[in-house]
């Protein structure tokens, strides 16, 4: 079975995003970028499925600027087989990303799409669900466990209140939650090998899908700052403050 893994290049999760003074967006100049952590988890899961002999080929796709090739190479170093960059120099909205990914899926005909539940830049948590709707495939979001047998996947999902288990017929879209696995670090030899793997580059225009923005960003502002607090010396002081000053007890 072929697996398609969409990955996004985002700000490194250890970096605190800073708003530009003119409120036009978040300052990404000279900021460390990395593969979205949830996408890393999706790649890792695909590699594990390949190691188990369930998956035969892992195709990694990213929609983004030329630099997203680095992100794809990282996924190839983790064990992906081949990459595809759909180059777009403007940031696409989740709906447009889903439409491009649908076009890629139509071409590639994967048996499974494994992706992150959320990109930590826009925090949309939307593309997987939209892609699955556009393809008319079943979805299993927020997966913390995936077992594939024959033509279906048993997926345990993290939901409010606990866990839910679904059985989805393949092809399906599964989005990864944090506890699905712990992604490996690519070894140096694998990083070297990944440089030779096939990475095709296409232009977003090649797919002929409607990517016109539906949302205009009017401004990006800093959230209100919390006023700094105080340190108390003892638990008794704490309770006294909570009672009289804060009035929350």
């Amino acid at each position: 079975m072929k697996v398609l893994v969409p990955v996004k290049r985002v700000i490194d999760s250890n970096v605190k995003a800073r708003v530009k003074p003119d409120q036009s967006g978040v300052d990404l100049a000279n900021v460390k970028m990395a593969m979205n952590p949830f996408c890393e988890i999706a790649v890792e899961e695909a590699v594990r499925l390949k190691e188990k002999g369930i998956v035969s080929e892992i195709v990694v796709v990213s929609i983004g600027p030329a630099q997203a090739q680095e992100t794809i190479r990282t996924a190839l170093a983790m064990g992906g087989d081949r990459g595809l960059l759909v180059q777009s120099d403007v940031d696409l909205e989740p709906l447009a990303v889903a439409k491009v990914l649908k076009a890629v899926a139509d071409e590639e005909q994967p048996g499974l799409i494994l992706m992150g539940k959320q990109a930590i830049d826009g925090d949309n948590n939307a593309v997987g669900q939209m892609l699955s709707a556009l393809l008319g495939w079943p979805q299993a979001t927020f997966a913390s466990k995936i077992e594939i047998s024959g033509s279906s996947a048993k997926v345990t999902r993290e939901v409010d209140g606990g866990l839910q288990t679904l059985d989805v017929a393949l092809p399906a879209v599964i989005t990864a939650d944090l506890r699905l696995n712990e992604p490996r670090y690519a070894s140096l030899p694998n990083i070297m090998k990944a440089k030779k793997k096939d990475l095709a580059v296409k232009a977003v225009g090649d797919y002929g899908v409607d990517i016109a923005p539906r949302l205009t960003v009017l401004k990006v502002a800093e959230p209100p700052k919390r006023a700094g607090g105080i340190k108390v010396e003892t638990a008794d002081d704490m309770v006294a403050k909570l009672k009289t000053e804060a009035g929350v007890l």
Partner: protein
């Protein structure tokens, strides 16, 4: 404008997330509410009483009862034709279904909205809440998930008309089957709705210690229990306790963080709490930068001391 709110409920009652979503919806126009599930008479009756709700639409099927996204898509997409906006609480279920419905309607979903500026302009947090984005939508129809902590719950006193509707073609749920569910039953208030939340972090070191330290304090205060990702990953607490960018967002009157460092991803889920208390033995832990009251101490002595002080103060 007419707005359809998709209720989050447990069959018998309506969750507070829904009441808060109704408040957001009422800022846009007339509100109808959809109560979809299986065995939802109690929830439908409760929905009818929400202030401002005109109509309660009730749809029942097994697939809806299990929250199957495909079934919700099949039900809501045709219904949406009669509305200018569909609003859904940003719960795990809301996040599961809203984008799917939006894609079918060819609409860009706007997720986690914290402020409604006007009928087409909304504010939402991005980058773990380190920035707030104001977006204007050019879609004729809007599909929005509402971050409940940003709105006050709608009151009671309405008298909406209840009508049953067909569950639609989605009853079969197209290729996805429900197998099982493990929902933790608890007498504590729901994490998202609790006035007081007590959260534990990696410092607890084990599930036994987490239970021994965090739960009695939460129970003494009548609060809910939360956790950092590190505590959940290590198996000290169940997954749905996770507070943060990728877990639950909470904004209680009082949030007590114990042995939690205060990573940006954790702060994203609790920094809008009214009062924040932190107990951490590291005076430089970033959590102290957002805490109103910090106690630099080992939790092993600080938590028993705090419980004693609370009892002395009549708790």
């Amino acid at each position: 404008m007419t707005v359809l709110v998709i209720a989050d409920h447990d069959g018998k009652s309506i969750r507070e997330d829904t009441l808060k979503t109704v408040t957001a919806a009422a800022q846009l126009g007339d509100v109808d509410i959809l109560v979809a599930g299986k065995g939802v008479d109690g929830a439908a009756a409760a929905a009818a009483k929400i202030t401002g709700v005109k109509k309660v639409l009730v749809a029942e099927s097994d697939a809806l009862g299990h929250g199957m996204a495909e079934a919700f898509e099949a039900l809501v997409v045709p219904l949406a034709a009669g509305y200018d906006a569909v609003l859904i609480p940003s719960t795990s279920q809301g996040k599961n279904i809203a984008p799917r419905i939006a894609a079918k309607l060819d609409v860009a979903p706007i997720t986690d909205v914290i402020q409604i500026v006007d009928a087409s302009t909304f504010v939402r947090p991005i980058y773990a809440g380190n920035a707030l984005e104001t977006v204007k939508s050019s879609d004729a129809k809007k599909v929005i998930t509402v971050r409940p902590t940003a709105f006050k719950p709608a009151g009671e006193g309405g008298s909406g008309a209840i009508s049953k509707i067909d569950a639609g073609a989605g009853a079969g749920a197209g290729g996805a089957k429900f197998i099982s569910e493990e929902i933790v039953k608890s007498d504590r208030p729901e994490l998202g709705a609790a006035k007081i939340v007590v959260s534990g972090g990696r410092a607890m070191g084990s599930a036994e210690e987490f239970t021994r330290v965090i739960e009695p304090l939460a129970d003494l205060l009548g609060g809910a229990v939360g956790a950092s990702r590190a505590a959940v990953d290590a198996g000290y607490a169940p997954n749905d306790y996770q507070v943060g960018q990728t877990g639950k967002v909470v904004a209680p009157d009082l949030y007590i963080a114990i042995g939690i460092s205060g990573a940006i991803q954790h702060l994203a889920g609790m920094k809008d709490s009214k009062v924040i208390v932190a107990i951490n033995k590291d005076p430089d832990a970033p959590i102290f930068a957002v805490a109103d009251y910090g106690l630099v101490s080992d939790y092993k002595t600080a938590v028993p001391d705090l419980m004693a002080a609370l009892k002395k103060a009549g708790k």
